[in-house]
């Protein structure tokens, strides 16, 4: 399959796929010539505008790797990873992540990382791709054809006429004559690829993100000032967000220090939120991490993740279930900022007979489904994990123990109930097939309740374990 484009009075091939390339078709060939070579050829009209729009969309997606992304029509995206590769555990891992994600999206891409955009372009288009080690640009570039320098086709032809095929040959030519004989582009691209001239890329301006900046005449540094600035920025930003009808899910606050070091704090919320007081408080919790140094001259607050926040109708008091409607999301946010996301949770029942598997942690703001454990089975208030071995003596097999010794204390059993037999979940793994626990609820002389189990029938030499204390 090929894509064709109209050029003057003839139609030429704009791009070819792998199968067409193997049939010796190439870009720039006329459609008539291509069709004579390959009668069954599928020709589609190229749509350069749509291609470019798609490239821009992809470039927006690439901002996950770095904020500085430049789409370069027709087929390239430059990503400046100098300051962000550490977030992906290094350049190699970043490259791996990028290519595997593109591959899983059915996009074939070649990627390269190098010191200069020009060199990376060359390595991706004409070289092996991958990472060009720092300072090794001339070695990699030297053996590549001159086309790798992003110079116009006209210049490539005229260079070829004088026998210059490779970049190394081009670099060996005297610069003065190069400038005279070819357009300035050739020399410029060569210098840019080798890093002698800095290439300025115009990065993609990210989709409009709600943002507020405050610049200070005098650098600030005291915690009170930082807090006041945070509050002020929050107030201003919330007005903006209210006009858009969105609420914050994530806020980034960046303090620019006088020595040009940026210090950032980030907070997240469990629900879209527009409450100035609450957000300022969450940010204030994190302000201790900011090192003001010699002073801060600029503060920027960015709502990097927003979601639609619609006014919610409050449920009538006769329908609402009393206090359960209380909005806990603010409390959850505060505790999450302070303790970490995973440490705030709710517990949900799991349908499992094995006690230690019967609970699961879920997000605190997850929807309540009203599920509950079986109501008729008494369960201990404290569950020992793992169960602790005890020495127990039973009168006859399969009867509750007469006494047991746990942590060097002997407990005489006054009352007991059981067994409650729990079998292994054989559908999970082979080891579970033989598993069987006989649970007994026992009460000692002082009225303490315990939850013991024997891990096999008494005849099979089952051992006793203590699994829980207390009973409800």
């Amino acid at each position: 399959m090929v894509m064709a484009i109209q050029e003057g009075s003839r139609r030429i091939l704009a791009s070819v796929d792998d199968a067409a390339r193997q049939a010796n078709l190439s870009c720039g060939m006329t459609v008539a010539h291509a069709q004579s070579l390959l009668p069954g050829l599928i020709v589609k009209d190229a749509k350069p505008d749509e291609d470019e729009a798609a490239l821009t969309r992809l470039a927006h997606w690439c901002t996950r790797y770095s904020p500085l992304v430049t789409p370069w029509a027709p087929d390239t995206i430059f990503i400046d990873v100098a300051g962000s590769s550490h977030l992906f555990r290094g350049e190699a891992a970043l490259l791996q992540d990028l290519t595997s994600r593109l591959f899983s999206a059915h996009l074939s891409a070649r990627a390269a990382i190098a010191d200069t955009p020009g060199c990376a372009w060359a390595a991706a288009h004409y070289g092996q791709g991958g990472i060009v080690a720092a300072g090794r640009m001339s070695e990699v570039l030297g053996s590549l054809p001159v086309a790798a320098l992003r110079i116009p086709a006209r210049e490539i032809t005229s260079l070829r006429e004088v026998g210059v095929e490779r970049v190394a040959q081009l670099a060996a030519l005297p610069r003065a004559s190069l400038r005279q004989r070819f357009s300035g582009d050739v020399l410029l691209r060569l210098d840019q690829a080798l890093g002698a001239v800095v290439e300025v890329l115009a990065p993609l301006i990210p989709r409009e993100v709600p943002r507020m900046t405050l610049k200070f005449v005098e650098p600030i540094g005291t915690p009170e000032d930082l807090e006041r600035v945070t509050k002020l920025l929050c107030e201003k930003l919330m007005i903006d967000l209210a006009a858009r009808g969105v609420g914050v899910r994530r806020l980034d606050m960046v303090f620019q220090r006088v020595d040009n070091v940026a210090q950032a704090v980030r907070i997240g919320t469990s629900k879209p939120n527009r409450d100035t007081k609450h957000l300022a408080k969450l940010l204030a919790e994190r302000l201790v991490l900011v090192e003001p140094g010699f002073g801060i001259e600029e503060a920027t607050l960015t709502a990097s993740w927003v979601e639609a926040l619609t006014e919610r109708q409050t449920v009538g008091a006769h329908v609402a279930d009393g206090g359960s409607e209380a909005d806990i999301s603010q409390l959850v946010d505060t505790l999450r900022v302070r303790l970490g996301n995973e440490r705030i949770f709710r517990v949900m029942p799991i349908e499992s007979e094995i006690p230690e598997r019967s609970t699961k942690r879920i997000a605190p703001t997850a929807k309540a489904d009203g599920a509950i454990w079986p109501k008729d089975l008494p369960r201990p208030a404290r569950l020992l994990s793992p169960p602790e071995p005890v020495q127990a003596v039973a009168e006859i097999p399969d009867s509750p123990p007469l006494f047991f010794v746990w942590r060097k204390t002997r407990h005489k059993v006054r009352r007991a109930d059981g067994p409650e037999r729990i079998l292994g979940e054989w559908w999970l793994s082979d080891q579970e097939i033989g598993m069987q626990r006989d649970y007994y609820r026992v009460e000692n002389e002082t009225g303490e309740r315990f939850w013991l189990f024997r891990d096999a029938p008494a005849q099979a030499g089952g051992k006793w374990w203590l699994h829980g204390l207390g009973e409800a």
Binding site: G323, A326, R343, I344, T359, I372, K375, A381, R382, A472
Partner: protein
């Protein structure tokens, strides 16, 4: 108050009323236990909601506080709203809370380990109106942190329930409005094959505006209510439960 101080002729009953109003334990709403002998022993006829209450457990396994925990959970089960529960370790078994009426979807757990993490988390929860209560499993409660909790609880009306996880420093004074000690008690049941509901010895060690007292109670039922043990088995609803468990 100045007028009261000036008038020496003020009747004694009026003075008492003023003092009671100023010390204020009966000022806020209370949660009755539904057991007459306990409710009459508490000022205001029940457990004050906007206050700190402390529950400890006696005995060699007191640091597990298994009974104290269920007693506190039973109280929360009878107050509507979400609960913030600050953990001490990973040994709490949530199905037991559901058994005393505290459903899992009401509880927000906070995985804290040290008192220094638990106290600020509790305070944060206490500032939030609409919570049923805040639970903290603490090793030690000294005067200053407990005062902070008490102030936060008074402002929002959310009760703070402290479960003591260590038997050390139990005698240290703090600002808790009531201090309870829950210990297991041997059941009266004569047959060794009937378990029945566990019995607790519930002691009110200290209470502002009331004198210490103690009771023997049957453990919380599925609605979180304790009951006085019935001498005649047919009279209490635990008898019904026994029939279920033997059936």
């Amino acid at each position: 108050m100045t007028s009261a101080a000036n008038s020496s002729s003020m009747p004694m009953a009026e003075l008492r009323r003023l003092i009671e109003a100023a010390s204020g334990p009966s000022a806020g709403p209370v949660l009755p236990f539904g057991i007459e002998s306990i409710d009459t022993a508490l000022p205001g006829g029940g457990l004050a909601l906007g206050a700190v209450h402390e529950f400890s457990e006696e005995g060699p396994r007191g640091h597990f506080a298994a009974c104290a925990l269920l007693f506190a959970a039973g109280i929360l089960a009878r107050i509507p709203g979400p609960v913030l529960w600050c953990l001490h370790s990973r040994d709490l078994f949530a199905p037991a809370l559901a058994r005393v009426g505290l459903r899992p979807d009401r509880i927000i757990f906070c995985e804290t380990y040290k008192d220094a993490e638990i106290l600020p988390a509790m305070e944060e929860g206490l500032r939030m109106r609409g919570l049923a209560g805040v639970v903290g499993e603490l090793n030690r409660v000294s005067l200053t942190p407990s005062r902070r909790l008490q102030l936060a609880a008074e402002t929002s009306g959310v009760p703070a329930l402290i479960i003591r996880r260590s038997s050390e420093n139990l005698s240290e004074s703090n600002a808790a409005m009531t201090r309870w000690r829950i210990s297991p008690a041997p059941s009266f049941e004569t047959s060794p094959f009937r378990m029945g509901r566990p019995l607790w010895r519930v002691e009110l060690l200290r209470c502002r505006g009331a004198s210490p007292n103690s009771w023997t109670l049957e453990a919380c039922n599925a609605e979180g209510r304790c009951a006085l043990p019935a001498d005649v088995p047919d009279r209490s609803d635990s008898a019904q439960e026994r029939r279920y468990s033997s059936a």
